[in-house]
Symmetry: C2
Subunit: 337 residues, 2 copies
């Protein structure tokens, strides 16, 4: 076979689309026109609002192919989007996959990327409804649009938190940041933080449970970390926040890694990103609703702070037997350029 | 001001989002949650199907910044997507804008790109509901998702053509190809083919009219040219096609350009892309419906061929007084790599 047969360069877009299709289940009835036409045609869900989000992974910015297997690129590209739907309390329904691909990208990697995407999609009953494939003269770019649904007045936005609301996070913090560093250092094991960084599990079920029983007054996902999430909910809701450092559910593997680097696990877990957990604000009188979601859910939920009238962001706790009360550190990745 | 203030590098994503927002009208009531949250929340249109499409423009593949002004990049990125909705007969409603931007991209160009996008959006009552901005270590990538609506059983797909159906195209052919070549050669005037290449007008109104009165048995847009469109409709519908070379509505400026290059205008207009006109198949008994759409529409429609039982793609006409009957040439851009 000619060498071009082992990269995407020798393929037509239609051939590549067919390779993706092999990983997909048959389209559901509500998907009236699926992949292969100018656009997808979709029957809306009854008595629901649509929820739409888009997020891109760019090679060299969001992933490094030297330590990110292609199936993980496909998984993460969908996961970060499902996480956005989870943050709104929406149930995902379909995705569009738009990729710009360097011609030298191996066909085997293309297939693995599609398989990683399709596996996570199947796990969440998400159907690939369409997309776009084009050549990239530079990095691999994987841009995913997701569409989901939520009942009217159930969508969780960033705006509803009030002073006195408690803040909760799902799962653990710090694994995304630690996992990326472990991969970069060649120190990653087969499980633990590196696996979480590569294949984060979006909190779709918990987000939907929280929205359905109206447990949250506000919420978002922690794609850019707790410091960023707290800042955004506080700004959108017009409140301050105090975070209890001793309550933070830092991932044990991440804690070990941060300490081995001589870093403060609390600071790193607060400032780092890539965790894709949910941050929700809950009115004190709605704690029972959150408890119900927690019982039916598949992930721990931990109280980490409180919303305040005072419009500041604080981090309080004790370190080496000394109590501290400091400004919440900013996110590690604040700037665009 | 520091030099970083004149490029996107010094900006946060939130600051760039604010710069885009300045070009936008207030969101309509059905857009319950717009830009600035994890996802957009949308009230579905009553008794309609949703139509979704995504398409990306990649610098160095789909545009060259040396001769494509930034407003035209924004315009084209939306136009190619609206053209996909027009092909389905859908009325556009909203868009998501996902960009990967080189840090050195000038802020003035960013603003002009947003303005070009927003101007075309306003002309078609399309609302920007969300998006994503990230850094690119390589080319500028502008990925747009559009959502529109169509009445049940009105969507125009590629599948419904039958032998005997006539084929029609909107507008003219060849301007996209000629315009790009004129820009490359530095021979572009202020209007004509180059302007059409830079700022194509998607046939949204005509696509919607054709769908509403069920004039078309099949249709698509000519993003990759007539040869590609004919091939795809023929394959999806299971028919052959004969195109009448003498009937093709070749753009006069494009014809002049092709002839000046010593090229055959028919071949170039058939094989070239970037025209963003519509190709529709119409049953002979539905010609009255097409005539009605034409009367209410804003663009000429020309009959260019017929669908056949014989599963071949033919181009017939006369050249230099000699009649010819040849295989339809393939599209100029068939391969991915």
């Amino acid at each position: 076979m000619p060498s071009s047969a082992s990269t995407v360069a020798g393929q037509t877009e239609a051939e590549l689309v067919d390779r993706i299709r092999r990983h997909l289940p048959p389209p559901p009835d509500w998907l009236r026109v699926a992949i292969g036409d100018d656009a997808a045609v979709i029957e809306p869900a009854r008595n629901r609002l649509d929820v739409l989000s888009v997020d891109a992974l760019v090679e060299g910015v969001h992933f490094d192919r030297r330590f990110t297997p292609p199936d993980a690129i496909g998984h993460r590209a969908l996961a970060v989007n499902l996480s956005d739907l989870a943050a709104m309390g929406a149930e995902p329904r379909l995705a569009l996959l738009s990729m710009a691909i360097p011609p030298a990208f191996p066909l085997a990697d293309f297939d693995a990327l599609a398989a990683g995407f399709a596996r996570l999609a199947a796990a969440h009953h998400v159907h690939l409804a369409g997309g776009n494939l084009t050549r990239s003269p530079g990095p691999l770019v994987v841009d995913v649009t997701v569409s989901g649904t939520v009942k009217p007045r159930r969508a969780v936005t960033r705006r509803g938190a009030r002073p006195g609301d408690r803040l909760y996070v799902t799962g653990t913090l710090g694994a995304g940041t630690a996992g990326l560093e472990m991969l970069r250092a060649g120190a990653a094991g087969p499980a633990g933080p590196a696996e979480w960084y590569l294949r984060p599990q979006p909190r779709v079920r918990m987000g939907s449970l929280i929205a359905r029983n109206r447990a949250a007054s506000a919420g978002m996902d922690l794609s850019d970390g707790l410091a960023d999430g707290v800042r955004r909910i506080a700004a959108a809701s017009g409140v301050g926040v105090v975070i209890d450092a001793s309550a933070l559910p830092i991932d044990p593997g991440a804690r070990d890694w941060f300490e081995a680097q001589g870093a403060d696990p609390v600071e790193r877990a607060v400032r780092g990103g890539d965790d894709y957990e949910l941050l929700v604000a809950v009115r004190p009188r709605h704690r029972g609703r959150l408890a119900a979601a927690r019982r039916h859910g598949d992930v721990p939920i931990t109280e980490v702070g409180i919303c305040t009238v005072e419009p500041t962001l604080r981090l309080r706790g004790t370190r080496d037997g000394q109590s501290f009360d400091m400004a919440l550190p900013g996110p590690e990745f604040a700037h665009f350029g």
